[in-house]
């Protein structure tokens, strides 16, 4: 399979994630879209690491492991923040949670 196919698929998945962040106002769904974007980046990492061949082709996969660890930490913190915001405000609509707006 040519490398471009995987990169185009990765770009499309990333774009869907971006559109989701722009369109949806539910904080949890915005989080899911961020996960989608991280996954698209992972796909590009693995595809490019494969195209670089045997000699130095594993570094991309190691990076994917790191990205997954960071994503797991981010989800844990983010969902804890969402839960505590919901306890205070009774909503997770990001348009109504705007106290930090300048």
């Amino acid at each position: 399979m040519p490398l471009e196919y995987y990169l185009v698929l990765s770009a499309l998945l990333f774009t869907i994630g971006v559109i989701g962040v722009l369109v949806r106002r539910n904080a949890i769904i915005i989080f899911m879209c961020i996960e989608l974007m991280l996954n698209a980046a992972n796909l590009a990492f693995v595809a490019i690491s494969r195209s670089l061949g045997e000699a130095n082709g594993q570094a991309g996969q190691v990076f994917v492991i790191f990205v997954m660890a960071v994503a797991a930490a981010e989800v844990a913190i983010g969902l804890a923040i969402i839960v505590s915001v919901f306890k205070h405000r009774q909503t997770i609509n990001v348009d109504e949670v705007n106290s930090l707006k300048g």
Partner: protein, 173 residues
């Protein structure tokens, strides 16, 4: 058309359909389940790319642990009733979709052009698979420092979550 191409189209289509479902379902539970479908399809793509260990980690960490967290929080907050007004107006939505299409065109342009790049000149992907042994060897030799820093990140996340939740329970008392 060989088996790899058929599987790529299958997994790619499933992951794209799942991703579109994530942003189009009203109810967050359906979005979360669509996201699981996308993650599984991407694990299939990783296997096609010969990255078996990454595919296994994708299924275990993403489709397992992270999605359980999402579903747990959605059910804990009982969000189904709240999400009815969870979208923006059609005008802004159209604007967002136009921006997204522009971004997609840029991404596709970069992806197609990258074939001309000398660094990725061997665009036809190789056939070998990466074993867990090779990844582990890299992880514990060349990338040992990032690996240790990752453990610090996880520790910071753990402490952060405990602090966030603990302050809540003290305020309630």
């Amino acid at each position: 058309m060989n088996a790899e191409q058929i599987l790529f189209i299958l997994f790619g289509a499933v992951s794209l359909i799942g991703a579109v479902s994530v942003i189009s379902f009203r109810h967050p539970i359906y979005s979360a389940l669509s996201l699981v479908v996308t993650f599984f399809a991407q694990a299939g793509l990783f296997i096609l790319l010969g990255a078996h260990f990454v595919a296994a980690v994708q299924v275990i960490v993403y489709a397992g642990a992270i999605m359980v967290l999402f579903l747990f929080v959605i059910m804990l907050l009982n969000l189904g009733t709240l999400s009815a007004k969870g979208a923006i107006g059609p005008k802004l939505k159209g604007f967002a979709v136009i921006l997204g299409i522009l971004l997609a065109i840029e991404g596709i342009y970069i992806a197609v052009n990258s074939a001309n790049d000398t660094a990725v000149a061997a665009a036809e992907t190789a056939t070998g698979t990466t074993t867990t042994y090779q990844i582990g060897e890299l992880l514990f030799s060349k990338y040992l420092l990032p690996f240790e820093v990752t453990s610090l990140i996880l520790l910071a996340a753990l402490i952060g979550v405990i602090v966030l939740v603990k302050r809540e329970s003290q305020e309630e008392n």
